[in-house]
């Protein structure tokens, strides 16, 4: 035995300091290097996953969105160029990537930088170099926060950062959950005191000239883009059309870029998700025949990559530009796309929720009695859900029925959107979604449903930025979540299938909704196996973004739980919802707190209350609650 000082037993007790537990993915086709790196990283107290193939690594990243904090990749690999992997990771997952190579020639290093690598290490790599890689994770998160700082005071911003730091520190420890909870409480309290409006967009009012792409602002943006035509939309014209004081051409330009990337990515990603469509191909096809289900179809199709990017973009534009009565389907997709793009690959805007939500409301009266499934599907954000819901609907509801409901809802959605655009303020309807739903299938309901979605969508920037943080937070939070998750749903980090990936990617409130809605009907133990913790976290993260406008809502524990569960739901399709529903009330409060914490930390916009988190959840829950009543 070696005289090394190594030995796990010799290692000091888990320090409370970040970056312990940093989740690293190492990709290198050279098995020796891989093994050595793996060991070095373990010695740094990081959680290492190693991969000798780039394609496998990419799949892993996609499936386990939010499971990794940083990627280390070799440059020369047989199955994929390291720089290509670097680009894809940056685009899809927005994770910091460090390149490595035995070749340290300047031109290669330069290429690495150009492709977005945050560092370039020359082999052989010393362990001291690896010890420091956490800086890239932190730097990235901080930059994102800074860039999309909520239009609050500097104080808010600092506070956010402190919370993030606190969270990071706290989450490193296994007992972090409690600390996180405490920290969250503190944060929340202080936040409440000088809560600033989650200002959608009023750069002029902020101390810093930062633009917060709120739901409304984004809607304006999209409608302007739509007016000009996605291909012809130039920042200057968009800016003119939007006519928002304080908004600069640069703001619009960068937003446009993200939007375009999003659309592009969505179609690209959709095509890659082979397994996803397969499950839903059937239902989707069935639904194709049903006009009413068109929306879902489109989304499902989009997910399955059957829709070309142009269609998606067009659909998206449609959403915001069409008058009521026109295509609902496109709108939904578009919104989803739009928001998704805004949020990066990490989450799908709650738009889908909204879109779905409307029909849901409408449908509820028709369908509620039959099963909760239809309703749920409506609220689902992801195309998977769409497909699933379409299927459910097809199974349970006469096509015509659903169709009409959908149409009505779609129209309402559109009107709602337009309404929103005019209002430029938090949606008043949001507050009591459940109430609205109960009352009547009026536009009121829809808006409330949709508003969160819009909001979700609108905080693309923040979402994006938070994503990386989210991932980090997720990581650290995982142990706590898992430990707190009595139901054990969160324990399983295994990603079973691509759908899960998608979900985590798009884990917005929508998933929450779907989860809640599906609860009843699908009792599938498979749900349990879905990486709820992973998805949960991603969902959690997303929630805050959506919550900008929902800060007034007080979150309900159920809701929170629902959102937590979404990931599970997402991955497993129908089965998830049932599981989700069942477990909904079982989630320990700590999970909720944690989620809230994340919501807060997440927030460029979510500074205010934990409500934000619950807001999203709320979307789902109201519906859910409604159904029982209606049934």
């Amino acid at each position: 035995m070696a005289c090394t000082s190594g030995g796990k037993s010799d290692v000091a007790p888990v320090p409370e300091q970040f970056p312990v537990g940093l989740r690293v993915l190492v990709v290198d086709d050279d098995v020796i290097c891989l093994r050595v790196l793996e060991q070095m990283l373990r010695k740094c107290m990081y959680k290492v996953t190693s991969c000798s193939q780039a394609t496998v690594a990419l799949n892993l990243l996609r499936e386990r969105k939010g499971c990794f904090d940083i990627v280390l990749s070799d440059v020369h690999m047989p199955d994929m160029d390291g720089f290509k992997l670097l680009e894809l990771v940056g685009l899809e997952m927005d994770l910091p990537v460090i390149m490595m190579s035995a070749d340290g020639r300047t031109n290669l290093v330069m290429r690495g930088i150009r492709h977005g690598a945050c560092d370039y290490l020359i082999k052989p790599i010393r362990d001291e170099e690896l010890k420091n890689i956490w800086q890239h994770v932190v730097r990235k998160k901080w930059n994102e926060i800074k860039e999309h700082d909520h239009s609050g005071s500097m104080e808010d911003h600092d506070r956010q950062k402190r919370v993030i730091d606190d969270a990071e520190y706290a989450s490193c420890v296994n007992e972090g959950a409690d600390e996180v909870l405490k920290m969250q409480k503190k944060r929340r309290d202080s936040k409440d005191e000088d809560d600033t409006e989650l200002e959608n967009d009023d750069p002029a009012a902020t101390k810093k000239p930062r633009v917060v792409w709120s739901v409304e602002l984004h809607q304006q943006f999209v409608s302007a883009v739509n007016q000009l035509g996605i291909d012809k939309a130039v920042p200057k014209r968009i800016l003119e059309l939007m006519n928002v004081p304080g908004l600069t051409r640069e703001n619009v330009a960068s937003h446009l870029q993200k939007f375009r990337l999003y659309l592009k990515r969505l179609s690209g990603v959709a095509q890659q998700q082979g397994c996803l469509p397969s499950t839903y191909c059937g239902p989707v096809e069935q639904n194709l025949k049903l006009a009413s289900l068109g929306r879902f179809d489109i989304q499902a199709l989009a997910a399955s990559g059957q829709l070309p990017p142009q269609t998606l973009a067009a659909l998206h534009a449609e959403l915001l530009s069409r008058p009521p009565g026109k295509l609902v389907l496109p709108a939904l997709d578009q919104r989803t796309l739009l928001h998704a793009s805004l949020q990066g690959s990490k989450c799908i805007p709650a738009d889908q929720d909204v879109a779905y939500g409307q029909p849901l409301i409408k449908c509820s009266s028709n369908i509620a009695k039959q099963t909760s499934q239809p309703v749920m599907s409506n609220e689902d954000v992801l195309s998977e859900f769409a497909a699933w819901s379409a299927k459910s609907l097809g199974d349970m509801v006469p096509a015509c029925n659903f169709g009409s409901v959908v149409e009505r809802n779609s129209n309402m959605l559109i009107s709602f959107i337009q309404q929103q655009q005019q209002q430029q303020q938090k949606q008043p309807v949001i507050p009591e979604p459940s109430r609205s739903i109960n009352v009547q299938p009026s536009c009121l309901v829809v808006p409330s449903q949709s508003s969160p979605n819009f909001q979700a969508g609108n905080s693309p920037v923040s979402v994006n930025q938070n994503c990386s943080f989210r991932n980090l937070a997720l990581d650290y939070n995982n142990p706590s979540l898992q430990s707190n998750n009595s139901s054990g749903a969160g324990q399983n980090m295994e990603v079973e299938c691509k759908p899960v990936r998608m979900h985590s990617e798009f884990g917005t409130a929508g998933s929450v909704l779907s989860a809640s809605s599906c609860s009843k009907d699908i009792q599938d133990s498979a749900c349990q196996r879905v990486p709820s913790s992973l998805s949960t976290i991603s969902v959690v993260m997303q929630v805050p973004n959506i919550n900008d406008m929902q800060s007034s809502h007080s979150g309900k524990p159920d809701l929170v739980q629902v959102s937590t569960r979404n990931p599970v739901y997402v991955g497993k399709g129908p089965s998830i919802p049932s599981r989700f529903a069942v477990d909904e009330h079982e989630l320990p409060m700590s999970s909720i707190s944690q989620m809230k914490l994340y919501a807060e930390n997440n927030g460029n916009k979510v500074k205010q209350e934990p409500n934000d988190l619950t807001e999203n959840v709320r979307v789902g829950i109201p519906v859910r609650q409604t159904f029982p009543q209606m049934i």
Partner: protein, 154 residues
């Protein structure tokens, strides 16, 4: 043999390896990485290196034997060999790889063949020496002793 003696032999042998450039600081790092949870880490990595290198050398031989030498492919192999040898600290092998790559860039078949010859030699040398060192280690362990750290040599 007594543990002390074995340990001294081991240290002396290792010192020589470092001195002659067969091993460099990276090897000492490997030793530091070994711990209770990975007690055979060095052995594992060295074994991987042997396997990988033999495969690469084989591929290189075949590639250079072709009518139309594919320099890109050769460069890729050499690059990998360079990477793995540097990861375990096989310094002399790595150095030959550097020269080898230069010849590749120049598309100099002669130069490449010479380098291939050289790298094979260096590889065999370091392999023999590492195996000898491993045997010494095993003897120490068998005699109940602990393997001395080599970080002073790097």
């Amino acid at each position: 043999m007594e543990v002390d003696q074995l340990q001294r032999s081991f240290l002396e042998y290792s010192r020589l390896l470092f001195h002659e450039g067969f091993l460099d600081g990276q090897f000492s790092q490997l030793q530091l990485l070994q711990d209770e949870s990975n007690p055979d880490f060095v052995f594992e990595v060295v074994s991987l290196f042997f396997e990988d290198s033999e495969r690469l050398l084989n591929d290189l031989t075949i590639a250079l034997d072709q009518q139309n030498v594919d320099f890109k492919k050769i460069d890729a192999h050499v690059h990998q060999l360079k990477g793995s040898s540097s990861s375990i600290g096989a310094q002399r092998v790595k150095n030959v790889c550097i020269a080898f790559r230069n010849f590749c860039d120049e598309q100099n078949v002669e130069g490449c063949l010479r380098c291939l010859q050289q790298v094979k030699q260096e590889y065999l040398l370091v392999k023999t020496k590492l195996e000898a060192q491993l045997r010494l280690e095993q003897q120490i362990v068998a005699a109940g002793g602990a393997i001395p750290m080599l970080n002073e040599f790097c």
